[in-house]
Symmetry: C2
Subunit: 383 residues, 2 copies
């Protein structure tokens, strides 16, 4: 099964031997050097492809994305341009993150977490069914896949006051992120039909979470140090255009949503995620079952007139399905007890040296499959 054929062509930023960062597109197991292609006159994006991040091209808007993608496809099909073996590439954060927003859009996840963290309250608060709950995360600690995850220290609830030390409940959140290209002016809204005009592409996200720190700090203003130490993204941004065959009806919404969240076509994306813990596949979270869609998230994010910047990243929130083997966090996976990995070891939360890798696929045209690369990270002890 080819995941990176001509129907995918995800964008990234690479370098070779410590050289300059360049924009490239993955074609099978090679990277097509778009910096070199634009320098050689094989493609014209007014210089936007000769920069060290995707931001300049993302800011050019939907028509330019489409035109560049079409030309990249021609080059890839013809074998024109410079192909660099992926194995020779160092991959970097593909875009400069402006604001990072994290949603909370899986009803299964919200219900599971509510039961664990707020056992004496309704598992899903009333407002959750009316709006895609979200909050701002730390943009400056969004890093590319492979960056070591330094176990965070912080406060947690202790006996008679807080305890302090390395997090004892370090967790993941398997998510799908949407990268904004086209900005907006302050005071304007993006309608629920506006997703494809503003979102350049899709990237896998692991929103590392320290549950002990988060549980102590999050009332009343939400997660902070329990999240802000690291968020990893895959090195490949899959163009939204490549996902034309992945749209699928999203779950019906009851109670009915307000008009600004009501789409003519209420669609989610049929991505199948996979989570591996030290090489053992522990979960297959289904993205198609998310209650709130990316189009609704974007409409809600801007309903108050908040402007968008090129490089804004908004993530879905943990992708969890109804089954234990479909959850996107270890808090949920191990709520009923530890899991056994292939090496025989038992795990509840992450130990130093543990590696988590998240991958995903989506249907492409004509029975093909679109791959999203991998977001991986290994936990290291605080120095």
């Amino acid at each position: 099964m080819t995941l990176y054929g001509l129907d995918n062509l995800p964008y990234g930023v690479f370098s070779v031997d410590g050289g300059r960062r360049r924009i490239g597109v993955r074609v099978h197991d090679d990277v097509l050097d778009l910096d070199a292609a634009e320098a050689a006159g094989l493609i014209d994006a007014r210089g936007a492809l000769r920069t060290p991040t995707l931001n300049a091209h993302m800011a050019q808007g939907r028509a330019a994305w489409s035109a560049v993608r079409a030309r990249v496809r021609e080059l890839a099909r013809a074998g024109d341009g410079t192909l660099v073996p992926l194995a020779d590439c160092e991959l970097h954060l593909p875009f400069q993150v402006a604001d990072y927003v994290d949603f909370y859009s899986s009803a299964w996840h919200a219900s599971n977490v509510g039961k664990i963290l707020r056992p004496n309250q309704p598992d899903i608060p009333e407002n959750w069914w009316h709006l895609p709950i979200g909050y701002h995360g730390r943009a400056g600690t969004v890093t590319v896949s492979g960056t070591p995850i330094v176990r965070p220290w912080g406060q947690r609830r202790g006996d008679g006051g807080p305890a302090f030390g390395p997090s004892t409940r370090l967790d993941i959140e398997a998510e799908v992120g949407f990268v904004v290209g086209t900005p907006t002016r302050l005071g304007t809204r993006v309608p629920v039909s506006g997703l494809a005009d503003h979102v350049f592409g899709v990237v896998l996200v692991n929103d590392w979470s320290a549950r002990d720190i988060q549980a102590w700090e999050y009332v009343p203003l939400g997660p902070f140090c329990g999240k802000s130490f690291a968020t990893s993204v895959a090195p490949w941004v899959v163009p939204l255009e490549a996902l034309a065959h992945a749209w699928t009806p999203a779950p019906a919404q009851d109670p009915p949503v307000l008009d600004y969240l009501r789409a003519d076509e209420h669609l989610g994306l049929d991505l199948s995620l996979a989570v591996e813990w030290n090489g053992t596949r522990v979960s297959r979270p289904p993205f198609a079952g998310m209650y709130w869609t990316p189009a609704q998230q974007l409409a809600h994010l801007t309903v108050n007139g908040a402007s968008l910047c090129t490089g804004d990243l908004f993530a879905s929130g943990t992708v969890s399905g109804p089954q234990r083997e479909e959850v996107g966090s270890f808090l949920e996976l191990t709520a009923a007890g530890p899991v056994r990995l292939a090496d025989g070891s038992l795990r509840t939360f992450l130990e130093d040296g543990d590696t988590v890798s998240i991958t995903a696929t989506a249907p492409g045209p004509d029975g093909t499959t679109i791959g999203f690369g991998e977001v991986t990270g290994t936990v290291v002890k605080t120095a």
Copy 2:
């Protein structure tokens, strides 16, 4: 009383007649053009003063800040360089905001708000006394003083489900912001003694807040659309070095704080804020009484290894004192009933056309006074 004499010298970014953005320093009612000064060889900051934001100079670190400031003072004293009348200048956002963090560090404010929003719970949650509660806000909607504040639309609690429309409880939060210059590496911490090594300067902040939207959305992940539509900052960044005489013992902390928050000198800044509503002074919030200090906020923000970027802004949270005429939000000011403005009108929350201006002063050396400019904004109806 001079507020902008040689002991202050705050930094800003200005343009004249739609021209290029230039870095300048306010000297009384003029702006000393540092772009021109560096171009003319009067000052040397390796070109950092010839850029359209303060970020490049802020990234140069404490020794460079001190050297440039000393040289600026010589120029201002000697009358060297180009002075542009302030009245001829358009003032811009002085720095590009990286991440924006908002704290919640006034015990009076936390108590007042807790009583209003959570009447059936303890007004201040247990964790509040152990850590400076904070959350990430939207960096992309931080704008310079004078930018119109478009009244946000959104969801609020209604009868049998959410209501939707323009916010009916639009409010301010008078705050003091700290602007990070020197960045850090991911996985490292800033000690509580590290403030002056990392913070370039101080800026007034108005964190506009839609209380009806916020009250409905904020459980469980904190404020989002109720805040993200606009945050205004004053056009002048007062160098931390200019505030050497403004440090004052901060309130004693009981229960005792954890070691990472314990300073040899537990100091706050003696800023006196003033809030005017349509020209009527309605409050004088005292910054010296804040429970958590900026040094503690910075230590907490990085205790988990979160990196700092040049341009990070962290704000104090609403500055409120114990008296009604010392509160930094209208939610608190009008909790017991509307206020009457000088024109005879009554107000509870902001109406379209209302203007709010926040100013502040701090003690300088030898009986002088340091001014912080003004952060002002006028509410306009959604188009």
